[in-house]
Amino acid sequence: MLKVQEIHTYYGESHILQGITLEVEAGECVALLGPNGMGKTTTLRTIMGLTTARRGHVFFKDRDITRLRPFEIARMGIGYVPEDRELFGGLSVVDNIRVPFMSLGNGAPGWGEVQEEIFALFPVLRVRVRQMAGSLSGGEQQMLTTARALVMGRDMLLVDELTQGLAPLLVQHLVEALLKIKQKGLTILLVEQDFQIASRMASRCYILEKGRVGVEESMEALCGRPELLQQYLGVGQDISSR
Protein backbone atom coordinates (compact mmCIF):
# COMPACT_ATOMS: atom_id res chain seq x y z
CA MET A 1 0.00 0.00 0.00
CA LEU A 2 2.79 2.39 0.87
CA LYS A 3 6.12 2.43 -0.93
CA VAL A 4 8.88 4.80 0.02
CA GLN A 5 11.76 4.82 -2.45
CA GLU A 6 15.13 6.34 -1.65
CA ILE A 7 13.83 9.60 -0.27
CA HIS A 8 16.19 12.36 0.69
CA THR A 9 14.80 15.13 2.84
CA TYR A 10 16.59 18.26 3.93
CA TYR A 11 15.84 20.87 6.56
CA GLY A 12 17.58 23.80 4.94
CA GLU A 13 20.97 22.36 4.15
CA SER A 14 20.76 19.67 6.81
CA HIS A 15 20.58 16.30 5.05
CA ILE A 16 18.20 14.47 7.38
CA LEU A 17 16.94 11.54 5.29
CA GLN A 18 19.72 10.05 3.23
CA GLY A 19 17.89 7.54 1.11
CA ILE A 20 15.09 5.88 3.04
CA THR A 21 13.39 2.92 1.40
CA LEU A 22 10.54 1.06 3.04
CA GLU A 23 7.27 -0.64 2.28
CA VAL A 24 4.05 -1.30 4.10
CA GLU A 25 1.59 -3.87 2.77
CA ALA A 26 -2.13 -3.51 3.19
CA GLY A 27 -3.29 -4.64 6.61
CA GLU A 28 0.23 -4.72 8.05
CA CYS A 29 1.51 -2.88 11.06
CA VAL A 30 5.11 -1.87 10.51
CA ALA A 31 7.28 -0.21 13.14
CA LEU A 32 9.88 2.46 12.51
CA LEU A 33 12.45 2.27 15.28
CA GLY A 34 15.62 3.97 16.28
CA PRO A 35 16.89 6.50 18.79
CA ASN A 36 15.98 10.17 18.59
CA GLY A 37 17.32 12.24 15.78
CA MET A 38 17.62 9.39 13.29
CA GLY A 39 14.89 10.71 11.02
CA LYS A 40 11.80 8.77 12.11
CA THR A 41 9.56 11.83 12.45
CA THR A 42 10.99 13.34 9.30
CA THR A 43 10.12 10.18 7.41
CA LEU A 44 6.50 10.36 8.50
CA ARG A 45 6.34 14.06 7.76
CA THR A 46 7.75 13.49 4.29
CA ILE A 47 5.19 10.78 3.56
CA MET A 48 2.44 13.11 4.74
CA GLY A 49 3.70 15.93 2.55
CA LEU A 50 4.42 18.29 5.43
CA THR A 51 8.00 18.26 4.23
CA THR A 52 8.87 17.57 0.62
CA ALA A 53 11.56 15.10 -0.35
CA ARG A 54 14.20 16.59 -2.55
CA ARG A 55 14.92 13.27 -4.15
CA GLY A 56 13.13 9.95 -4.28
CA HIS A 57 9.47 9.01 -4.38
CA VAL A 58 6.59 8.08 -2.15
CA PHE A 59 3.83 5.88 -3.56
CA PHE A 60 0.49 5.31 -1.93
CA LYS A 61 -1.90 2.81 -3.51
CA ASP A 62 0.38 2.93 -6.56
CA ARG A 63 -0.01 6.68 -6.92
CA ASP A 64 2.99 9.00 -6.72
CA ILE A 65 2.26 11.31 -3.81
CA THR A 66 5.75 12.76 -3.44
CA ARG A 67 4.81 16.25 -4.56
CA LEU A 68 1.22 16.34 -3.38
CA ARG A 69 0.10 18.76 -0.70
CA PRO A 70 -0.71 17.41 2.77
CA PHE A 71 -4.46 17.81 2.44
CA GLU A 72 -4.48 15.95 -0.87
CA ILE A 73 -2.55 13.10 0.74
CA ALA A 74 -4.85 13.06 3.76
CA ARG A 75 -7.90 12.88 1.52
CA MET A 76 -6.55 9.73 -0.07
CA GLY A 77 -7.24 8.01 3.21
CA ILE A 78 -4.14 8.56 5.32
CA GLY A 79 -4.48 9.67 8.92
CA TYR A 80 -1.64 11.30 10.83
CA VAL A 81 -0.97 11.21 14.55
CA PRO A 82 1.83 13.72 15.11
CA GLU A 83 4.47 13.75 17.79
CA ASP A 84 3.33 16.20 20.51
CA ARG A 85 -0.32 15.63 19.65
CA GLU A 86 -0.80 19.07 18.06
CA LEU A 87 -4.48 19.38 18.78
CA PHE A 88 -6.53 22.45 17.96
CA GLY A 89 -6.36 23.61 21.56
CA GLY A 90 -8.90 26.40 21.23
CA LEU A 91 -11.53 24.13 19.72
CA SER A 92 -13.71 21.71 21.63
CA VAL A 93 -13.23 17.95 21.45
CA VAL A 94 -16.12 17.53 19.05
CA ASP A 95 -14.91 20.40 16.87
CA ASN A 96 -11.48 18.79 16.65
CA ILE A 97 -13.17 15.73 15.21
CA ARG A 98 -15.30 17.86 12.94
CA VAL A 99 -12.27 19.33 11.17
CA PRO A 100 -11.23 16.17 9.35
CA PHE A 101 -14.88 15.17 8.93
CA MET A 102 -15.51 18.29 6.84
CA SER A 103 -13.05 17.02 4.25
CA LEU A 104 -14.43 13.52 3.86
CA GLY A 105 -15.64 12.79 0.36
CA ASN A 106 -18.87 11.31 -0.88
CA GLY A 107 -19.70 7.85 0.31
CA ALA A 108 -18.07 8.47 3.66
CA PRO A 109 -19.93 7.65 6.86
CA GLY A 110 -22.21 10.31 8.32
CA TRP A 111 -21.45 12.55 11.28
CA GLY A 112 -23.34 10.41 13.75
CA GLU A 113 -21.59 7.25 12.59
CA VAL A 114 -18.14 8.86 12.77
CA GLN A 115 -18.76 10.04 16.32
CA GLU A 116 -20.07 6.65 17.41
CA GLU A 117 -17.02 4.87 16.01
CA ILE A 118 -14.76 7.19 17.98
CA PHE A 119 -16.68 7.07 21.24
CA ALA A 120 -16.81 3.30 21.03
CA LEU A 121 -13.02 3.21 20.97
CA PHE A 122 -12.49 6.05 23.45
CA PRO A 123 -15.51 6.38 25.74
CA VAL A 124 -13.95 9.12 27.83
CA LEU A 125 -14.10 11.47 24.84
CA ARG A 126 -17.89 11.27 24.86
CA VAL A 127 -17.89 12.69 28.35
CA ARG A 128 -15.53 15.51 27.40
CA VAL A 129 -17.24 16.25 24.14
CA ARG A 130 -17.72 20.02 24.59
CA GLN A 131 -14.56 20.66 26.54
CA MET A 132 -11.68 22.65 25.08
CA ALA A 133 -9.08 20.30 23.69
CA GLY A 134 -6.33 22.28 25.37
CA SER A 135 -7.77 21.54 28.81
CA LEU A 136 -7.77 17.76 28.50
CA SER A 137 -5.33 15.56 30.36
CA GLY A 138 -2.33 14.14 28.52
CA GLY A 139 -3.91 10.76 28.02
CA GLU A 140 -7.19 12.22 26.82
CA GLN A 141 -5.33 14.45 24.40
CA GLN A 142 -3.51 11.46 22.98
CA MET A 143 -6.82 9.67 22.53
CA LEU A 144 -8.26 12.70 20.78
CA THR A 145 -5.37 13.10 18.42
CA THR A 146 -5.59 9.40 17.55
CA ALA A 147 -9.35 9.64 17.08
CA ARG A 148 -8.93 12.71 14.88
CA ALA A 149 -6.48 10.88 12.65
CA LEU A 150 -8.84 7.93 12.32
CA VAL A 151 -11.52 10.11 10.74
CA MET A 152 -9.33 10.84 7.75
CA GLY A 153 -7.32 7.62 7.93
CA ARG A 154 -9.73 5.17 6.39
CA ASP A 155 -6.93 3.17 4.79
CA MET A 156 -3.72 3.95 6.62
CA LEU A 157 -2.48 5.50 9.81
CA LEU A 158 0.88 7.18 10.35
CA VAL A 159 1.54 7.24 14.08
CA ASP A 160 4.40 9.22 15.60
CA GLU A 161 4.87 8.11 19.22
CA LEU A 162 1.61 6.73 20.47
CA THR A 163 2.38 6.50 24.14
CA GLN A 164 5.21 8.78 25.07
CA GLY A 165 4.98 10.07 28.60
CA LEU A 166 1.74 8.31 29.44
CA ALA A 167 0.78 6.21 32.43
CA PRO A 168 0.78 2.42 31.90
CA LEU A 169 -3.00 2.12 32.12
CA LEU A 170 -3.48 4.68 29.37
CA VAL A 171 -0.79 3.07 27.29
CA GLN A 172 -2.69 -0.22 27.61
CA HIS A 173 -5.93 1.45 26.54
CA LEU A 174 -4.40 3.09 23.50
CA VAL A 175 -2.57 -0.01 22.34
CA GLU A 176 -5.73 -2.07 22.65
CA ALA A 177 -7.71 0.51 20.71
CA LEU A 178 -5.19 0.49 17.92
CA LEU A 179 -5.06 -3.30 17.84
CA LYS A 180 -8.85 -3.33 17.56
CA ILE A 181 -8.69 -1.06 14.53
CA LYS A 182 -5.86 -3.04 13.04
CA GLN A 183 -8.05 -6.11 13.24
CA LYS A 184 -10.55 -4.34 11.01
CA GLY A 185 -7.86 -4.14 8.37
CA LEU A 186 -6.26 -0.74 8.89
CA THR A 187 -2.66 -0.42 7.74
CA ILE A 188 -0.36 1.21 10.26
CA LEU A 189 3.14 2.69 10.13
CA LEU A 190 4.20 3.24 13.69
CA VAL A 191 7.11 5.24 15.04
CA GLU A 192 7.79 4.11 18.60
CA GLN A 193 10.54 4.61 21.12
CA ASP A 194 9.23 1.88 23.38
CA PHE A 195 10.26 -1.45 21.88
CA GLN A 196 7.85 -3.41 24.05
CA ILE A 197 4.89 -1.59 22.57
CA ALA A 198 6.23 -1.75 19.05
CA SER A 199 6.73 -5.49 19.33
CA ARG A 200 3.15 -5.97 20.52
CA MET A 201 1.70 -4.18 17.55
CA ALA A 202 4.00 -4.58 14.58
CA SER A 203 4.81 -7.64 12.53
CA ARG A 204 7.77 -6.08 10.80
CA CYS A 205 10.12 -3.25 11.53
CA TYR A 206 12.76 -0.95 10.14
CA ILE A 207 15.46 0.46 12.37
CA LEU A 208 16.73 3.83 11.24
CA GLU A 209 20.30 4.85 11.67
CA LYS A 210 21.48 8.34 10.79
CA GLY A 211 18.92 8.93 8.08
CA ARG A 212 19.10 5.49 6.52
CA VAL A 213 17.52 2.12 7.11
CA GLY A 214 19.99 0.17 9.20
CA VAL A 215 18.00 -2.98 9.79
CA GLU A 216 14.95 -4.47 8.13
CA GLU A 217 13.52 -7.46 9.91
CA SER A 218 10.40 -9.25 10.99
CA MET A 219 9.45 -8.56 14.58
CA GLU A 220 9.78 -12.20 15.55
CA ALA A 221 13.26 -12.46 14.13
CA LEU A 222 14.31 -9.21 15.73
CA CYS A 223 13.19 -10.29 19.15
CA GLY A 224 15.39 -13.32 18.80
CA ARG A 225 18.48 -11.21 18.16
CA PRO A 226 19.19 -9.25 21.30
CA GLU A 227 22.56 -8.13 19.97
CA LEU A 228 20.81 -6.12 17.26
CA LEU A 229 18.45 -4.62 19.79
CA GLN A 230 21.39 -3.68 21.94
CA GLN A 231 23.38 -2.24 19.08
CA TYR A 232 20.66 -0.18 17.43
CA LEU A 233 18.21 0.56 20.16
CA GLY A 234 20.32 0.33 23.27
CA VAL A 235 17.87 -2.20 24.60
CA GLY A 236 19.66 -4.48 27.01
CA GLN A 237 17.58 -6.96 28.92
CA ASP A 238 15.93 -10.07 27.72
CA ILE A 239 12.90 -9.06 25.70
CA SER A 240 10.05 -11.52 25.58
CA SER A 241 7.54 -9.75 23.42
CA ARG A 242 4.29 -11.63 22.98
Binding site: F71, A74, P82, E86, F88, G90, M102
Partner: protein, 295 residues
Protein backbone atom coordinates in the same frame (compact mmCIF):
# COMPACT_ATOMS: atom_id res chain seq x y z
CA UNK B 1 -21.91 69.07 28.55
CA UNK B 2 -25.40 67.66 28.88
CA UNK B 3 -27.02 64.30 28.18
CA UNK B 4 -27.94 65.18 24.61
CA UNK B 5 -24.37 66.10 23.82
CA UNK B 6 -23.11 62.84 25.28
CA UNK B 7 -25.61 60.72 23.37
CA UNK B 8 -24.86 62.57 20.18
CA UNK B 9 -21.13 62.15 20.46
CA UNK B 10 -21.53 58.54 21.50
CA UNK B 11 -23.52 57.91 18.36
CA UNK B 12 -20.89 59.70 16.30
CA UNK B 13 -18.30 57.51 17.93
CA UNK B 14 -20.29 54.40 17.07
CA UNK B 15 -20.65 55.44 13.45
CA UNK B 16 -16.93 56.01 13.10
CA UNK B 17 -16.33 52.76 14.97
CA UNK B 18 -18.66 50.94 12.58
CA UNK B 19 -16.52 51.85 9.59
CA UNK B 20 -13.40 50.90 11.51
CA UNK B 21 -14.90 47.57 12.54
CA UNK B 22 -15.87 46.64 8.99
CA UNK B 23 -12.38 47.41 7.80
CA UNK B 24 -10.37 46.13 10.75
CA UNK B 25 -12.18 42.78 10.86
CA UNK B 26 -10.95 41.78 7.45
CA UNK B 27 -7.45 42.95 8.30
CA UNK B 28 -7.20 41.18 11.63
CA UNK B 29 -8.73 37.91 10.47
CA UNK B 30 -6.30 37.65 7.57
CA UNK B 31 -3.47 38.50 9.91
CA UNK B 32 -4.49 35.82 12.38
CA UNK B 33 -5.01 33.30 9.62
CA UNK B 34 -2.08 33.82 7.30
CA UNK B 35 0.25 36.03 9.30
CA UNK B 36 0.13 38.49 6.43
CA UNK B 37 -0.19 42.24 6.73
CA UNK B 38 -2.31 43.53 3.88
CA UNK B 39 -1.20 47.12 3.52
CA UNK B 40 -3.45 47.43 0.47
CA UNK B 41 -6.60 46.93 2.51
CA UNK B 42 -7.33 50.63 2.26
CA UNK B 43 -7.30 50.38 -1.53
CA UNK B 44 -10.40 48.21 -1.53
CA UNK B 45 -12.09 50.63 0.83
CA UNK B 46 -11.23 53.45 -1.55
CA UNK B 47 -12.43 51.47 -4.55
CA UNK B 48 -15.73 50.84 -2.81
CA UNK B 49 -16.15 54.53 -2.17
CA UNK B 50 -15.34 55.58 -5.72
CA UNK B 51 -17.54 52.79 -7.00
CA UNK B 52 -20.39 54.28 -5.05
CA UNK B 53 -19.62 57.72 -6.41
CA UNK B 54 -19.36 56.86 -10.06
CA UNK B 55 -21.32 53.70 -10.74
CA UNK B 56 -24.07 54.25 -8.24
CA UNK B 57 -24.58 57.94 -8.73
CA UNK B 58 -23.96 57.99 -12.45
CA UNK B 59 -25.84 54.83 -13.39
CA UNK B 60 -28.43 55.38 -10.74
CA UNK B 61 -27.87 51.95 -9.28
CA UNK B 62 -30.11 51.25 -6.34
CA UNK B 63 -28.25 51.71 -3.04
CA UNK B 64 -29.26 48.33 -1.65
CA UNK B 65 -28.02 46.63 -4.80
CA UNK B 66 -24.76 48.53 -4.77
CA UNK B 67 -23.72 46.97 -1.47
CA UNK B 68 -23.54 43.35 -2.63
CA UNK B 69 -22.20 44.40 -6.02
CA UNK B 70 -19.38 46.36 -4.42
CA UNK B 71 -18.75 43.41 -2.13
CA UNK B 72 -18.50 41.01 -5.06
CA UNK B 73 -16.26 43.32 -7.08
CA UNK B 74 -13.75 44.07 -4.31
CA UNK B 75 -13.84 40.46 -3.14
CA UNK B 76 -12.96 39.30 -6.65
CA UNK B 77 -10.09 41.79 -6.87
CA UNK B 78 -8.92 40.68 -3.45
CA UNK B 79 -8.96 37.05 -4.50
CA UNK B 80 -6.85 37.93 -7.54
CA UNK B 81 -4.38 39.77 -5.35
CA UNK B 82 -4.15 36.88 -2.95
CA UNK B 83 -3.63 34.24 -5.60
CA UNK B 84 -1.37 36.12 -7.97
CA UNK B 85 0.46 38.35 -5.57
CA UNK B 86 0.52 36.95 -2.09
CA UNK B 87 0.33 33.20 -2.46
CA UNK B 88 3.02 32.98 -5.10
CA UNK B 89 5.17 35.51 -3.29
CA UNK B 90 5.03 33.62 -0.01
CA UNK B 91 5.89 30.36 -1.71
CA UNK B 92 8.72 31.92 -3.66
CA UNK B 93 10.32 33.85 -0.86
CA UNK B 94 9.22 31.60 2.02
CA UNK B 95 8.61 34.60 4.24
CA UNK B 96 5.59 36.62 5.31
CA UNK B 97 7.23 40.00 5.04
CA UNK B 98 7.32 40.40 1.28
CA UNK B 99 3.56 40.54 0.85
CA UNK B 100 3.47 43.50 3.21
CA UNK B 101 5.89 45.39 1.01
CA UNK B 102 4.10 44.36 -2.14
CA UNK B 103 0.73 45.47 -0.81
CA UNK B 104 2.23 48.70 0.44
CA UNK B 105 3.51 49.39 -3.05
CA UNK B 106 0.09 48.62 -4.47
CA UNK B 107 -1.52 50.94 -1.95
CA UNK B 108 0.74 53.82 -2.88
CA UNK B 109 0.37 53.19 -6.59
CA UNK B 110 -3.39 52.80 -6.40
CA UNK B 111 -3.72 56.21 -4.82
CA UNK B 112 -1.90 57.76 -7.73
CA UNK B 113 -3.96 55.89 -10.32
CA UNK B 114 -7.16 57.03 -8.66
CA UNK B 115 -5.85 60.58 -8.63
CA UNK B 116 -5.22 60.37 -12.35
CA UNK B 117 -8.68 59.06 -13.14
CA UNK B 118 -10.82 61.04 -10.78
CA UNK B 119 -8.64 63.94 -9.77
CA UNK B 120 -7.48 64.86 -6.31
CA UNK B 121 -10.42 66.99 -5.23
CA UNK B 122 -12.27 65.40 -2.32
CA UNK B 123 -15.87 64.51 -3.07
CA UNK B 124 -18.80 63.15 -1.23
CA UNK B 125 -21.49 60.79 -2.37
CA UNK B 126 -25.15 61.52 -1.91
CA UNK B 127 -27.20 59.86 0.73
CA UNK B 128 -29.88 57.75 -0.93
CA UNK B 129 -33.21 59.55 -0.80
CA UNK B 130 -35.10 57.08 1.34
CA UNK B 131 -32.42 57.29 3.94
CA UNK B 132 -32.20 61.03 4.14
CA UNK B 133 -33.39 62.91 7.12
CA UNK B 134 -33.23 62.22 10.81
CA UNK B 135 -34.79 59.84 13.26
CA UNK B 136 -35.31 59.92 16.98
CA UNK B 137 -32.79 58.10 19.11
CA UNK B 138 -33.87 58.61 22.66
CA UNK B 139 -33.97 62.35 23.29
CA UNK B 140 -31.87 63.32 20.27
CA UNK B 141 -32.31 63.46 16.51
CA UNK B 142 -29.78 61.54 14.49
CA UNK B 143 -29.33 61.09 10.73
CA UNK B 144 -31.08 57.96 9.51
CA UNK B 145 -28.23 57.04 7.23
CA UNK B 146 -25.68 57.07 10.02
CA UNK B 147 -27.89 54.72 12.06
CA UNK B 148 -28.01 52.47 9.03
CA UNK B 149 -24.24 52.28 8.95
CA UNK B 150 -24.22 51.21 12.58
CA UNK B 151 -27.02 48.74 11.92
CA UNK B 152 -25.32 47.11 8.95
CA UNK B 153 -22.14 46.72 10.93
CA UNK B 154 -23.93 45.09 13.85
CA UNK B 155 -25.57 42.63 11.45
CA UNK B 156 -22.25 41.82 9.82
CA UNK B 157 -20.64 41.20 13.21
CA UNK B 158 -23.45 38.90 14.28
CA UNK B 159 -23.08 37.07 10.99
CA UNK B 160 -19.37 36.65 11.56
CA UNK B 161 -19.90 35.33 15.07
CA UNK B 162 -22.40 32.80 13.81
CA UNK B 163 -20.04 31.80 11.03
CA UNK B 164 -17.06 31.16 13.28
CA UNK B 165 -18.94 29.47 16.07
CA UNK B 166 -21.83 27.66 14.42
CA UNK B 167 -20.70 26.57 10.99
CA UNK B 168 -18.34 23.80 9.90
CA UNK B 169 -16.50 26.15 7.58
CA UNK B 170 -15.96 28.59 10.42
CA UNK B 171 -14.42 25.81 12.49
CA UNK B 172 -12.10 25.00 9.60
CA UNK B 173 -10.95 28.61 9.37
CA UNK B 174 -10.24 28.70 13.11
CA UNK B 175 -8.37 25.42 12.86
CA UNK B 176 -6.19 26.72 10.04
CA UNK B 177 -5.47 29.83 12.08
CA UNK B 178 -4.41 27.71 15.05
CA UNK B 179 -2.28 25.23 13.18
CA UNK B 180 -2.06 25.45 9.40
CA UNK B 181 0.03 22.29 9.02
CA UNK B 182 -2.19 20.06 11.11
CA UNK B 183 -5.34 21.43 9.52
CA UNK B 184 -3.92 20.38 6.18
CA UNK B 185 -2.90 17.00 7.56
CA UNK B 186 -6.57 16.66 8.48
CA UNK B 187 -7.63 17.21 4.88
CA UNK B 188 -8.35 20.94 4.93
CA UNK B 189 -7.53 22.83 1.74
CA UNK B 190 -5.88 25.64 3.66
CA UNK B 191 -4.55 27.62 0.66
CA UNK B 192 -8.02 27.88 -0.84
CA UNK B 193 -9.48 28.83 2.53
CA UNK B 194 -6.90 31.57 2.83
CA UNK B 195 -7.99 32.98 -0.51
CA UNK B 196 -11.68 32.93 0.38
CA UNK B 197 -11.09 34.62 3.72
CA UNK B 198 -8.83 37.23 2.17
CA UNK B 199 -11.42 37.96 -0.49
CA UNK B 200 -14.11 38.25 2.15
CA UNK B 201 -11.98 40.78 4.02
CA UNK B 202 -11.46 42.94 0.95
CA UNK B 203 -15.12 42.60 0.05
CA UNK B 204 -16.02 43.91 3.46
CA UNK B 205 -13.62 46.80 2.91
CA UNK B 206 -15.45 47.62 -0.32
CA UNK B 207 -18.77 47.63 1.50
CA UNK B 208 -17.27 49.92 4.12
CA UNK B 209 -16.25 52.22 1.29
CA UNK B 210 -19.76 52.36 -0.13
CA UNK B 211 -21.23 53.02 3.30
CA UNK B 212 -18.67 55.69 4.10
CA UNK B 213 -18.90 57.54 0.79
CA UNK B 214 -21.83 59.77 1.85
CA UNK B 215 -20.31 60.49 5.25
CA UNK B 216 -16.57 60.83 4.89
CA UNK B 217 -14.54 62.56 2.27
CA UNK B 218 -13.81 60.51 -0.84
CA UNK B 219 -10.32 61.25 -2.04
CA UNK B 220 -7.24 59.37 -3.31
CA UNK B 221 -5.68 59.36 0.15
CA UNK B 222 -8.63 58.03 2.09
CA UNK B 223 -7.25 54.50 2.15
CA UNK B 224 -3.81 55.33 3.46
CA UNK B 225 -5.06 57.70 6.13
CA UNK B 226 -7.45 55.18 7.50
CA UNK B 227 -4.85 52.41 7.41
CA UNK B 228 -2.90 54.01 10.22
CA UNK B 229 -5.90 54.11 12.52
CA UNK B 230 -6.83 50.59 11.47
CA UNK B 231 -3.48 49.30 12.61
CA UNK B 232 -3.96 51.03 15.94
CA UNK B 233 -7.34 49.33 16.20
CA UNK B 234 -6.09 45.84 15.50
CA UNK B 235 -2.94 46.20 17.56
CA UNK B 236 -4.92 47.47 20.55
CA UNK B 237 -7.53 44.79 20.13
CA UNK B 238 -5.02 42.03 19.81
CA UNK B 239 -4.03 40.60 16.44
CA UNK B 240 -6.47 38.02 15.22
CA UNK B 241 -9.10 38.74 17.84
CA UNK B 242 -12.47 39.79 16.45
CA UNK B 243 -13.86 40.74 19.85
CA UNK B 244 -10.80 42.80 20.54
CA UNK B 245 -11.20 44.57 17.24
CA UNK B 246 -14.80 45.50 17.95
CA UNK B 247 -14.09 46.73 21.45
CA UNK B 248 -11.03 48.73 20.55
CA UNK B 249 -12.76 50.20 17.48
CA UNK B 250 -15.66 51.35 19.61
CA UNK B 251 -13.31 52.77 22.22
CA UNK B 252 -11.25 54.61 19.63
CA UNK B 253 -14.32 55.82 17.78
CA UNK B 254 -15.76 57.29 20.95
CA UNK B 255 -12.46 58.91 21.92
CA UNK B 256 -12.25 60.48 18.48
CA UNK B 257 -15.85 61.67 18.58
CA UNK B 258 -15.61 63.23 21.99
CA UNK B 259 -12.10 64.48 21.39
CA UNK B 260 -13.06 66.18 18.13
CA UNK B 261 -16.15 67.75 19.65
CA UNK B 262 -14.45 68.90 22.82
CA UNK B 263 -11.12 69.94 21.35
CA UNK B 264 -10.23 69.26 17.74
CA UNK B 265 -9.68 66.41 15.31
CA UNK B 266 -5.95 66.56 15.73
CA UNK B 267 -6.10 66.47 19.51
CA UNK B 268 -8.47 63.54 19.29
CA UNK B 269 -6.02 61.60 17.16
CA UNK B 270 -3.22 62.46 19.55
CA UNK B 271 -5.31 61.10 22.39
CA UNK B 272 -5.80 57.88 20.47
CA UNK B 273 -2.12 57.38 19.85
CA UNK B 274 -1.36 58.31 23.42
CA UNK B 275 -3.81 55.72 24.65
CA UNK B 276 -2.24 53.14 22.37
CA UNK B 277 1.20 53.79 23.85
CA UNK B 278 -0.14 53.40 27.37
CA UNK B 279 -2.01 50.18 26.58
CA UNK B 280 0.94 48.63 24.79
CA UNK B 281 3.22 49.33 27.72
CA UNK B 282 0.87 47.44 30.00
CA UNK B 283 -0.24 44.77 27.53
CA UNK B 284 2.27 44.51 24.68
CA UNK B 285 0.18 42.10 22.66
CA UNK B 286 -2.97 44.14 22.80
CA UNK B 287 -6.01 43.87 24.99
CA UNK B 288 -7.34 40.55 23.78
CA UNK B 289 -4.39 38.90 22.14
CA UNK B 290 -4.96 35.22 21.58
CA UNK B 291 -1.82 34.36 19.72
CA UNK B 292 -2.26 33.78 16.02
CA UNK B 293 -5.73 32.37 16.35
CA UNK B 294 -9.01 33.81 15.20
CA UNK B 295 -11.45 34.04 18.09
Amino acid sequence: MNLNFIILQALNGLTIAAIYVLLASGLTIVLGLQNIVNAAHGVFYMLGAYFSLTVVTRLGLDFWVSLPVAFAATALLGALLEILGIRSLVRWKRSNHHPMILTLGIALGAGEVVKMIWGAIPRMAEIPIILQGVMAVGPVSYPKYWMLVIGVTVLVMIGLWLFFNRTGLGILVRAVAMNNEMAQAMGTNAPRLNTWVFAFGTGLAGVAGVLAAPILSVDPHMGMELLLILFVVIILGGLGSLWGTVISAVAIGIVIAFGTAAFSGMVAKLMVFGAMIVVLIIKPYGLFATGAAVE
